[in-house]
Amino acid sequence: MEEADAGNVRGMQIPVCCDCWFTRDGKGMPRLIKFQDDQEQIHTVSEIQVLYQEQKRYCGLPSVEYACRIVDGGRQKDVKLMFWPQEQKWSMVISTPPGTVACEQ
């Protein structure tokens, strides 16, 4: 049976460093992220509220997706943190208007 695949990642994807705590049965809780903006400023975000998490495949690649509400620079934003276990990489997806970019791996 073919596994469900969500296709391309929708939205702008940027690389992040993520401090994530895992329970003994592998469930994760992102606690802190750092990323660089267009002006090359480093943002550190420690206020992260995970709304839900799910496992998904994008273009055949497995991922764990955390829908989060974060507070960055005093402003609340809804983002998706994505963990790519095969590459041990984290990225953050910020929703963008129509005309989405293809996923970059």
Binding site: T23, M29, Q49, R69
Partner: protein
């Protein structure tokens, strides 16, 4: 800013529960100590005879923690007394904390049987706070065999107050919006940080409940109780900004004290006790890689009068001999000849061990050699036990020339005495 979720987890009758679980699980006991009037008590003959923990049935007889064993037995003649076993408590406490860390990495051990856990952001893992707390409570009971109370709130103060509500084996919430109904009607002495002296002052001011305190002007409280008044006013209004600190702060001082089994009347014996205390204090400092710049000695006489004296040392040190020398000088200056019941030794103004020593021109002591000797002794004790090597002064020959240690002073005194650290269950009746 997201609201925090803080748990305060408190083991019910910890020492008694842990002893009960250990006996049921490992010693073949048929009686659960928690179901009968029972208590953990010290050794009367060693002058440690007080109640350290009691069961709920014992509480109904009026047995109180801290009272003497004879007093407790008067209230409840059939009280089952079991000896303390701090080695067991230490192991069980570690297991308890490890279990909490399965739920969140932010766990602050508040005492041997209490901890705070910052559960903020774990809703995705464990569900809403009350469900998470119930799950934790059940897991503690199933895996470790004892019960806990869990208080749930948005800050540490309210979580701690909540865990003190009805016991045992319960989860209670005390969110900020609930303090009016659940906290304000309580007597003011139930508020965290309000002790006997403060509650007496508050009663004199007509403040009887936590609600009265919360609604009193903070200026009035500050005028009567200074900074403390402001702190407890904030607490009464459910405000607490302290965070759960998973890494304990560095020690600001190291100390040990001991109640001697007999009243000491000669300085030689007192100085032996100080040497034994210096051994334990100095070895703890060396283990943590620190030195102290200040030494202090405390004496409690046979009538429980306490006096203390302290001095800044010439150089920061963790050498046993150097600390003992300072302690002896302080003792000689302080002691008035009255029989001594209790001695204490403290080392403060802590520095990193790498700090350099101020050399003194006329002091020929080879401190480097003494440091190396202490380290070698620590190594031997670590590998072979604390009794593997001891100073000659503590060797009790029992015959021949008079021994310095004819009173059999433990060569490493202070803190939890040996007879309370572990129990020889072959010599104890298991019910």
């Amino acid at each position: 800013m997201f609201d925090k979720t803080i748990f305060h987890i408190d083991v019910n009758s910890a020492f008694l529960s842990w002893e009960a679980v250990h006996r049921l699980g490992h010693r073949g006991a048929r009686l659960d100590l928690r179901t009968v009037p029972s208590a953990v008590g010290g050794d009367i003959s060693m002058r440690h005879g007080i109640i350290l923990a009691k069961s709920i049935p014992a509480k109904k007889y009026g047995v109180r923690t801290g009272e003497s064993i004879p007093e407790a037995l008067q209230k409840c003649p059939e009280l089952v007394i079991v000896p303390p076993n701090y080695e067991l408590y230490d192991k069980t406490s570690k297991a308890f904390i490890e279990l909490l860390k399965e739920y969140t990495p932010d766990v602050e051990q508040y005492s041997v049987d209490e901890a705070f856990a910052d559960m903020t952001g774990t809703a995705g893992l464990w569900g809403d706070p009350v469900s998470a707390a119930e799950r934790l409570r059940n897991q503690v009971r199933q895996e470790l065999g004892f019960t806990v109370n869990i208080g749930v709130s948005q800050n540490k103060l309210l979580a701690k107050m909540a865990s003190d509500f009805k016991k045992p084996d319960q989860v209670h919430t005390l969110f900020r919006e609930e303090i009016y109904d659940k906290m304000w009607p309580l007597p003011v002495e139930d508020l965290f940080f309000v002790g006997r002296a403060t509650s007496r002052k508050l009663y004199n001011m007509g403040i009887h409940t936590i609600g009265d305190l919360a609604q009193t002007s903070p200026d009035i409280l500050r005028a009567h109780l200074k900074k403390h008044g402001e702190v407890i006013w904030n607490f009464a209004n459910g405000r607490d900004v302290s965070v759960v600190e998973k890494d304990p702060p560095a020690n600001k001082s190291y100390g040990n004290s001991t109640t001697i089994a007999f009243d000491v009347t000669d300085p030689g014996t007192a100085k032996m006790v100080l040497l034994a205390l210096a051994e334990t204090v100095a070895s703890r400092m060396r283990k943590d890689g620190v030195k102290a710049e200040m030494a202090a000695v405390g004496i409690k006489d046979f009538e429980f009068h306490y006096t203390g004296h302290q001095r800044v040392l010439q150089s920061a040190t963790n050498i046993t001999q150097e600390i003992h020398r300072a302690a002896v000088q302080l003792f000689d200056e302080l002691w008035d000849g009255r029989p001594v019941r209790h001695l204490g030794l403290w080392a403060g103004r802590i520095r990193e061990a790498e700090c350099s020593r101020q050399l003194i021109l006329f002091d020929g002591t080879d401190y480097e050699k003494l440091e190396k000797m202490d380290m070698a002794v620590d190594d031997v004790r670590r590998k072979f036990g604390i009794d593997a090597i001891k100073r000659a002064a503590f060797v009790h020959t029992g015959s021949g020339p008079k021994s310095l240690n004819e009173n059999n002073i433990d060569h490493m005194s202070g803190g939890i005495s040996r007879e309370r650290r572990h129990v020889d269950y072959d010599k104890v009746q298991i019910l």
